[in-house]
């Protein structure tokens, strides 16, 4: 049995890097934290720095890890199921659908904080189904799918703006949510989202063979005995839940869901288990590093991580396209 040794070492390296990035994220910030503060915290004594660590840094870093994982997992699955490398959750409106649901929910039921993740899942899932069926009706080619996604995306963004316009006192700060950021994370939302993302990732790893067979094309998957309709629904549901979980507390972070699965496919070749693991780790790593940079580079000011992601992500993505041009 030949093993994919290269992918295995990449997974290990990424895990170590992620641990290092989390450590860096905890130490860096506007207020200095020392090793002594952590030791004290572990002994149960909380000083000023310990309080910052426990109530500000830790939720924030955890949020970055969870949102990164959730968006990357969603992107990885959607790209396989729709057989389209351009189908990032931010491009085809999945994030926008989740965002619209969150904004609508918080405008209509301002006291319903705990329900936001669920509104977000529902929005993401309905959007991905809608895009899939429009794409199929209009010819099921790669480009019609992306175009219908782009149309749905801009419609939903418009609808979101409309909700803002009609309810100015909405709890959500419009800009911060749209740009995407991890400042001032709501802990109860984070907890729900964290559990959801971990469960989704475990389920995906459990069904990695099915995902890989689906990736061979729907006709081949069918002839191999995979109930294609059921699994398409199942995988899109998982992707929507995962993206929805991330959006519910981190807002509309772009590019992770598009960029990270691309990088993962380049290094693993697309065998599902390695592809999923690398996507998830890379997503968490990238967002943790970017968020740490976003709040330290211009300290004591910070910029929303969504801005940094777009500014870094887009050129990096283009560089990737040029670098690997013609290799596949």
């Amino acid at each position: 049995m030949a093993k994919n040794n290269r992918s295995r070492s990449i997974v290990i390296i990424l895990t170590l890097l992620l641990v290092a990035a989390v450590g860096l994220g905890l130490f860096c910030g506007a207020a200095p934290v020392t090793g002594r503060d952590i030791l004290l915290l572990l002994k149960g004594e909380i000083n000023g720095s310990g309080r910052i660590l426990l109530y500000v840094r830790l939720p924030r870093v955890a949020g970055a890890v969870i949102a990164g994982m959730g968006l990357a997992a969603a992107g990885a699955v959607i790209q396989v199921i729709l057989n389209n490398p351009l189908a990032g959750p931010n491009i085809i409106g999945v994030n926008a659908g989740a965002g619209f649901a969150v904004v609508l929910c918080s405008a209509v039921f301002p006291a319903s904080y705990a329900w936001l993740p669920f509104a977000s899942f529902a929005g993401a899932f309905l959007t991905v189904l809608l895009v899939y069926y429009i794409g199929k009706r209009t010819g099921a080619s790669k480009i019609t799918l992306v175009l219908s996604g782009v149309a749905v995306n801009s419609f939903l963004n418009g609808a979101t703006d409309a909700v803002y316009t009609f309810s100015e006192e909405s709890l959500f700060a419009s800009n911060a949510f749209k740009i995407g950021g991890l400042a001032g994370i709501n802990l109860s939302v984070l907890r729900t989202a964290g559990i959801v993302v971990v469960v989704v990732v475990l389920l995906l790893l459990l069904f990695h063979n099915e995902l890989e067979v689906f990736g061979l094309g729907e006709e081949t998957a069918h002839t191999l005995g995979l109930p294609v309709g059921v699994y398409r629904f199942f995988f899109l549901l998982l992707a929507a839940v995962s993206a929805g979980a991330a959006v519910s507390f981190a807002g509309l972070l772009g590019f992770i869901g598009l960029l990270v699965p691309h990088m993962a496919r380049r290094v693993t070749g697309g065998e599902s288990k390695e592809y999923l693991l690398v996507s998830v780790l890379l997503g968490a790593l990238l967002l943790t590093l970017c968020d740490t940079a976003a709040r330290t580079v211009f300290a004591p000011y910070e910029i929303p991580v969504g801005i940094l992601l777009s500014l870094l992500g887009a050129p990096f993505f283009l560089w990737l396209l040029f670098r690997f041009r013609g290799r596949q």
Binding site: E210, G215, E219, T220, H222, T223, L224, G225, G270, Q328
Partner: protein, 257 residues
Amino acid sequence: MQEKGEIQVCGLSAGYDRKIVLDAIDARIPKGRITAVLGPNGSGKSTLLKSIAGLCRKMTGKIYISGKRMEEYTQRELAQKMFYLAQSHPDSSIRTERLVLHGRFPHLSYPRRYGREDYQYCEQAMKQTGIIRLRDKRLGELSGGERQKAYLAMALAGQTEILLFDEPTTYLDIQYQTELFRLLGELRDYGKTVVAVLHDLDYALRLADWIVLLQDGSVVLEGTPGQVWESGGIGEVFHVKTGCTTDQEGTIHYYFG
């Protein structure tokens, strides 16, 4: 009573959405033989194959596989009996061995994990098709011919009695075409029922044991290559002049123009 591996199509109308491509056709595909499905573009060759594979909307009619109606099988049972090799595949860069291994997918039960036996079948199939040295290469690194052989190995690893090939030689250069036809012949020797949509009429007539000739969604002719050739139906359907010649080794070659 039908034999194992035989396919019988009765009064089948099939197509996509509301468009009917095949119009109430009857056809028989004998077991353990190579059947070539021939016909001009748009005559419904691929639709016939896809209907048998369960990938098309069936409006009316019945398809019997080994004497049982298709609907009486579960999808998994059918997958263990029959493999359909699609005309084109999405870009994939998984390793060749993984691809071939997925031929064993219909035989897995929950949770779907491949075991020792599956790896053995996979190895055997890669040897048979001559791609064992490519096992750790990614599909994206293979040439068109090598990739087609990898898909063929996937079909073999599944050990199905029936193999449906939708234009298996498209995009292949002559060397790989010849090799592919040789492999199809080997499959017949193992007792498999092989159905292939083919474009190369000369090869089809020489290789196949049975021919189904389609035109405008109807079966025009059905029979052995000899019968089909004698009837002159090929020339009529394709609007070409036909002829044949025998080479020094005694092989008959057909030509069209």
